[in-house]
């Protein structure tokens, strides 16, 4: 059934993966990368660039670029739903256009250029021709190098933005161009959604997510042409071309606008101002008679005037700088070794009257109503970016600069640009070219520093004068800011910058402090000697059978010789009691501060035995003994050679 309908009505055709593979739609869409600018700004820049590159060869004809955001009227909405869903995959997840067209209202953004060549040439990618291949490049091929000399783009990635901006990633392309000696009107739909798999009775089919809308001829979707195209244009309520007009209109279906811009007026103003901030060089009347671009912004039927760059602050400062760049006052920016002209700089160093920081200005990289920027451009004279310098020393002081890379290096700078053409990244270039791009930034920075009136003070090496005391003297002016400096008042919760904790207890020194120990050491037991049975009792409900008994060390452990052997002896006293279990817990001290413990391994110190107060020797390692509370006991240890032994005598008695 589909086949029959297809013969009479144009419709969608989904690209299945050919056996040799193809790019998935999402991959193609992402060729633009993730732009740092918002999508509308990228669209204005890229679309205008495409239009500029497609300008007509006829002398004196200007390029007219239009943005028209509107809702499809009720008279035409039905036609959109019935005609533009034909033949598309049933599942809206695989074909998001369904969702967009079935919504209560259908929003579209028509991006048009006139005074341009339109998308001419053959319509099939497999045709060999000497003609321009604009249609194929735009509609069929992806990522082809651009052949326009000194053009703005380097790759045909610019069209990706149309698909990115559209929620269903779908556009209609309506163009009129010279073809076989006459103007031909063409209309085709294109969608770059998501790759998907569809199951049917004959098995699963994988689709790339690319779809074309038009008329299928010999297995390829061809655009509707001439009368049929114009009839469709009328039914969809779109604008026809005038009889002798050429150009292109790309209709972005269901465009995604920034969340912040709900009001039509906001969008209109933003688009108009963005055009000025991003495209002003294209708007200036040219002394050499080259065409200029005229802009037209309409939102919901309301026109929004693009401000005049020659009279609007602070762009008029850049316009002046641009004129100086093209005049005798230009500064040549060069590298020394090798000596090479990198480009020309025009500067306008002046007082800046207060101006309003608009959203478009912020997008362009201005964060305050100060102007201390140099606008960078290539031969194509599209704004790459506004490079900010140091803030000027005086509030109303400022400067605007325009730098244009020399056309001999156009290729180098073009390749330094990301797909969105809004920066120069030297890092992606081969060494020699890298030095050119870096050279530009270095020279511009130097100049910007001079302009800011701050040139050297920051650069001069600080003298090696100890200033900590002076700094403390001024610290009252710095309260509440955590210092890293020498003042030693500790602020609660202050962050220690150095982060190495102070040493733990030092190894026991001659003063005889308890090196590894804590407050419950033996010496404490001396002062509270009466509490012989005062070991910490159990805290649980259930009485324990045995409790820890406090041992009183008498003196430091000492080395001596016993049976031709070096032994270590720790003397201690026991409170009176019966059935006291003795245990010597031994380990080796490690690490420079003696705080570490090594408690396993083959060569650990071991208990040789115990000497009772009556000098009898108990050889068992863990004996149970009776004590009358008198005399001195000894733990005898065999230490490991050349190690520090950590000794702990434990005693437990009946509860």
């Amino acid at each position: 059934m589909t086949g029959i309908a297809f013969m009479t009505r144009p419709g969608w055709d989904s690209q299945a993966y050919p056996p040799e593979g193809a790019s998935a739609a999402e991959g193609i869409r992402s060729q633009l990368g993730r732009p740092s600018l918002d999508l509308l700004t990228v669209l204005v820049r890229e679309a205008a660039q495409n239009s500029w590159d497609a300008r007509s060869d006829e002398p004196g004809s200007n390029v007219r670029f239009g943005l028209d955001l509107h809702t499809v009227g009720p008279a035409h909405a039905h036609a959109w739903r019935s005609l533009l869903l034909e033949g598309g995959p049933r599942n809206a997840d695989n074909f998001p256009l369904r969702k967009s067209l079935n919504a209560t209202s259908i929003r579209v953004l028509a991006v048009s250029d006139r005074g341009t060549k339109g998308l001419g040439g053959p319509t099939r990618a497999d045709v060999v021709t000497d003609e321009r291949r604009d249609f194929i490049t735009f509609v069929r091929n992806v990522g082809e190098p651009r052949d326009t000399e000194l053009g703005g783009g380097t790759y045909g990635f610019g069209k990706g933005i149309f698909f990115m901006l559209s929620r269903p990633h779908t556009v209609l392309i309506h163009t009129r161009a010279q073809f076989e000696g006459r103007l031909q009107t063409r209309l085709i739909g294109s969608s770059l959604a998501h790759s998907f798999t569809e199951s049917s009775a004959t098995g699963d089919t994988r689709y790339t997510g690319r779809h074309w809308w038009g008329r299928k001829v010999d297995g390829v979707v061809e655009p509707l042409v001439d009368n049929e195209a114009e009839a469709m244009i009328d039914r969809l309520g779109l604008q026809r071309f005038a009889p002798d007009e050429s150009g292109t209109t790309v209709v972005v279906i269901d465009p995604e606008l920034d969340d912040g811009m709900s009001e039509a007026e906001e969008v209109g103003t933003y688009l108009a101002e963005t055009i000025m901030w991003q495209l002003w060089p294209k708007m200036l009347p040219r002394y050499d008679g080259r065409p200029i671009m005229l802009f037209d912004v309409t939102v919901d039927g309301q026109r929004y005037e693009v401000p005049d760059p020659e009279t609007t602050l602070p762009i008029n400062m850049f316009v002046e700088a641009y004129r100086r760049m093209n005049g005798p006052g230009a500064r040549a920016i060069e590298t020394k070794r090798p000596r090479r002209l990198l480009g020309r700089l025009g500067l306008n160093d002046t007082w800046v009257p207060p101006w309003k920081l608009t959203r478009a200005a912020q997008t362009a990289g201005f964060d305050k109503d100060l102007v201390h920027h140099i606008c960078l451009m290539r031969a194509a004279e599209l704004v790459v970016t506004y490079e900010a310098g140091i803030e000027p020393a005086a509030e109303l002081k400022g400067y605007a600069g325009v730098f244009r890379a020399d056309s001999s290096l156009d290729d180098t700078f073009a390749r330094a640009e990301p797909p969105t053409h809004d920066a120069w990244n030297p890092d992606s270039l081969p060494f020699e070219e890298k030095t050119y791009v870096r050279g530009v930034f270095r020279r511009l920075r130097e100049i910007q520093k001079e302009l800011a009136g701050l040139q050297v003070s920051v650069r001069s090496d600080g003298q090696n004068v100890a200033l900590g005391a002076a700094s403390n003297y001024f610290s009252r002016l710095m309260r509440g800011s955590t210092g890293f400096g020498g003042g030693t008042a500790l602020i609660g919760g202050g962050r220690g910058s150095a982060g190495v904790p102070a040493l733990a207890g030092a190894p026991s020194d001659a003063g005889g402090t308890d090196a590894g120990g804590s407050a419950d050491g033996g010496s404490a037991a001396v002062t509270s000697g009466s509490s012989w049975n005062g070991g910490p009792g159990p805290t649980g409900d259930r009485p324990l059978r045995r409790v820890r008994i406090r041992v009183e060390y008498t003196g430091e452990p000492f080395l001596t010789r016993r049976n031709e052997q070096t032994v270590l002896v720790q003397e201690f006293r026991l409170p009176p009691g019966r059935d006291i279990a003795l245990q010597g817990v031994l380990s080796i001290a490690v690490s420079m501060d003696g705080s570490g413990r090594e408690t396993d391994g083959a060569d650990l110190p071991r208990v040789l035995g115990w000497t009772r107060p009556d000098k009898t020797f108990e050889e068992r390692g863990t004996p149970t003994v009776d004590s009358d509370g008198e005399g001195t006991w000894q733990l005898v240890i065999q230490p490991v050679q050349d190690t520090m032994t950590v000794v702990d005598v434990r005693a437990e008695g009946a509860a």
Binding site: G453, L454, V456, S457, R459, S460, G462, Q463, N464, V465, A466, L467, G468, A469, A470, S471, N472, Y473, F474, S475, R476, L477, M478, S481, T482, G483, F484, G485, G486, G487, T488, A489, L490, I491, R495, S497, A498, V500, A502, A506, P507, D509, A510, A515, D520, G522, Y553, E556, P557, L559, T560, R561, T566, G594, P639, D642, M644, T645, V646, V647
Partner: protein
């Protein structure tokens, strides 16, 4: 509850006696303090102490031969840099009871945070054929004493640099310049810098002697302090976003400016002071002099 045992005999603590460390600050010598306000990396620490060692008793108690070498050494460890190093080493070969003078310098560049300084009596080289219980390995510690000094903590310090204004765009003969940059929300420590012109001897010297100022230095410092405070307030008032109900984050330039403002003007509102500043700037300048207590205030 545990005790630590050395693997060799150690002498009684009475065999060594050490006087406290003395710290040399310029011409002056003080007992090593617990902390040193105003220290920075450019200040090397010059330390002295006397240590009495009874070499004979030590050798006897450790069962070392009479001529066994001993040495005093000073080893430091800095929490700031995480480094450890040796600053003094003096051999006590063959001597009996004697007084030794330790005099050393610890490079400021290598330390920071808390500095521990260990004075050690060690066996300086490996000894063969000694008693089994005697210390015989090189480095065996026989006595040690630790001192600590805190060099850096968390206190606020005002960022200052002494530079030559000559090659800069600042006027050659100016004495100081307060550089304020960044928004009210940028970090205060990164936004302020007091530049002092090294060409201006009177001011440059006053700053280098701030820890121990002469009277002339105190007057200079006080004048600069008052001027810096005033410059900060004026800068703040010149900013539209410096307002009474603003809410600045901790450690931002805004919070700092507000604190200085409060020190100067107490509970007065920013709006009020800004108006006064427009009406009678000279009177406000005088009020601020009083608020910072220039030249010691009531003196």
């Amino acid at each position: 509850m545990s005790r630590i045992a050395y693997p060799y005999l150690r002498p009684a603590s009475s065999t060594v006696d050490a006087q406290p460390w003395r710290l040399l600050l310029g011409e002056e010598e003080v007992e090593l303090p617990e902390s040193l306000d105003g220290w920075d990396y450019n200040l090397d620490l010059r330390l002295r102490r006397e240590v009495q060692v009874d070499g004979e008793a030590i050798r006897e108690q450790c069962r070392l031969p009479a001529g066994a070498p001993l040495a005093l050494s000073v080893v430091w460890y800095s929490t700031g840099s995480g480094l450890r190093g040796r600053s003094a080493f003096e051999r006590l070969d063959g001597r009996g009871y004697a007084t030794h003078h330790l005099d050393l310098t610890i490079a400021g560049a290598e330390v920071g945070g808390v500095l521990s300084i260990d004075t050690l009596l060690v066996v300086p080289e490996a000894l063969a054929e000694v008693d089994a219980l005697a210390p015989h390995r090189a480095g065996s510690m026989l006595w040690e004493h630790r001192s600590e000094i805190r060099l850096q903590g968390g206190a606020s310090q005002f960022p200052i640099a002494v530079v030559d204004f000559g090659p800069s765009t600042l006027p050659d003969t100016a004495a100081w310049h307060l550089e304020v940059s960044g928004s009210m929300d940028s970090a205060a420590m990164g936004s302020l810098l007091l530049l002092v012109n090294e060409r201006n001897k009177a001011v440059a010297e006053a700053f280098s002697r701030a820890g121990k100022p002469r009277q002339a230095d105190s007057l200079v410092l006080s004048a600069v302090y008052a001027d810096v405070a005033r410059t900060m307030v004026e800068h703040a008032l010149s900013r539209e976003d410096f307002v009474d109900d603003a809410n600045y984050g901790e450690e931002t330039l805004g919070a700092l400016m507000l604190d200085v403002f409060r020190q100067m003007f107490g509970a007065r509102t920013i709006k009020d002071v800004r108006l006064r500043m427009q009406d009678s700037p000279s009177l406000m300048a005088t009020e601020m002099q009083a608020a910072v207590g220039i030249f010691g205030g009531d003196s």
